[in-house]
Amino acid sequence: MTKLIKYLIFSFTILILLGCQLVYIDKTTETSTNQDIIRKPYAIKLKLDENTIDYYVTSYYRGDDEDKKFTTSHFYSNVHIHLIGNDKEIITGNYHFDMDRYQCVILSYLFINENDEIEEHNPEMFCEDQAHISYTSNNYSHSFTMNFVDVDILESIEIVEFDKHDNKLKIQRIDLNNPEISVFISKDAKDFLINKKYIDKNGEAYYVRKLVNRTEIEGLNNKYSYYPVIGLNQENVRQSIVLRFSVQNEGLAV
């Protein structure tokens, strides 16, 4: 009887071990097969309507300037990119569009297939204040989260310089038809105001103001060498104007 019990325990142990080994071999084979076909998304497509589509090219493909299929649009702000090695990218930021005109945004990942063609994966529609999509393969993951920000008509941009007694020194009015403008701030200015005038959907004017100390644009640590302003033009078309600030005669104008 004892022999029989020993025999049975032995047989069970052998069977369990064999089972475990089979599962392990199966999983390893599966992993190595999947690793061979890891794909990284080329870009994220943000579609407002058939004629209004923005793209965000992922960091993995950002460097390939020669063969770019899309370029990242200018309608993002406060973009934070968190890269972990080559295997993970987390992007958060704001996406600006006319929320009175478009109620929803369709987001999807774009991939390049073996024939160098674009493949679109699983479009998702978002109608609240935020969109989040993610993609995961075996050893790679990507996450893209955007908060939606409404855009109104941009009526004017003024750059107002103040002297050390806080008196107005100079006003520069920005040409809204030019997509990129260099703005030179006088050496005598203590600080300057970026004064943006918008018109809301009820026709009411409002101002968005930003006061900048001149020291913040001096030298190589210029925090305002790229300052995008997003708004609708008089034809209700979304536009982005990039202001590039530097100190006059500093020789560092971009």
């Binding site: 029989l4 968190h82 993610s134 107005k168 101002y207 006061l211």
Partner: protein, 252 residues
């Protein structure tokens, strides 16, 4: 002999089934237990060097907060593990007398408000800045979320003055006025044709003079803008002043 085989096989099978059930029920219990806990806020305690009689303020995630919590920001982001994190960053002042602190998490468990765990009490030298964080992950298998309470401690400044400079729509300076503790009042009246004003807040951080500048729009003031200034008193006690900004009334 066959019967013995059968009996043994039945016993072994029963053993496996019961152990599987045990594992499964334990997991479910943990999940259920975690689901009932809700992190609702944080209690901030500051103490003197003798670690007695703490001064206490509360911060609740629904926005309710103590008077000496001078600034709060809430950030949402994804961390390295892919979890959705909500971080509540709370700014709080110590004083030379009350220079020790600890924070305690507040939870609601089955409807009852309770204190969870506290950080250890830390004392700091004058002018040092400290941060204490407590973070929790919701362990529900379906929800990958975390909540973090980060409390930044710095020393209460010494208020010197605030200056209000009013500008019209063409950016001409209309008037400027400097307010010190000698002429401070609980309201500040701006002119009707003021489009915006600069508020320059000057204070001492230790021995070092500092200033912060804000731009406030006419519309903000119409909507009931208030400013709050914190300061140490002569006896090293805490104090604050709330200034209500208003537009001067029309003559008619």
């Amino acid at each position: 002999m066959k019967r013995v085989y059968l009996v043994l096989i039945v016993f072994v099978t029963l053993f496996f089934i019961s152990s599987c059930e045990l594992v499964s029920s334990t997991t479910e219990k943990t999940t259920t237990e975690n689901k009932t806990i809700e992190y609702v806020g944080v209690k901030i305690s500051i103490l003197d060097n003798f670690i007695n009689d703490p001064l206490v303020d509360y911060y609740y995630i629904d926005g309710e907060k103590g008077l000496y919590i001078y600034d709060v920001s809430v950030k949402e982001y994804q961390d390295d593990s892919g979890a959705q994190v909500i971080e509540h960053e709370i700014n709080y002042h110590l004083t030379p007398k009350y220079n020790c602190f600890y924070i305690t998490t507040l939870i609601r468990e089955n409807g009852d408000l309770k204190e969870l765990d506290s950080s250890t009490a830390t004392c700091t030298d004058f002018m040092a800045k400290f941060s204490h964080s407590i973070g929790y992950g919701y362990k529900d298998s379906k929800v990958n979320e975390k909540i973090i309470f980060k409390v930044n401690f710095s020393f209460m400044p010494n208020f010197i003055s605030y200056e209000v400079i009013e500008y019209d729509q063409s950016h001409n300076k209309l008037v400027s006025k400097t307010i010190t503790l000698d002429n401070i009042s609980d309201e500040y009246i701006i002119q009707q044709d003021t489009a915006y004003c600069k508020i320059i807040y000057q204070y001492l951080e230790g021995e070092v003079s500092q200033s912060d500048v804000k731009i406030i729009d006419h519309k903000d003031i119409i909507n009931g803008y208030t400013e709050r200034f914190y300061t140490l008193t002569e006896n090293d006690e805490r104090a604050f002043y709330i200034i209500q900004f208003k537009v001067e009334p029309t003559n008619s």
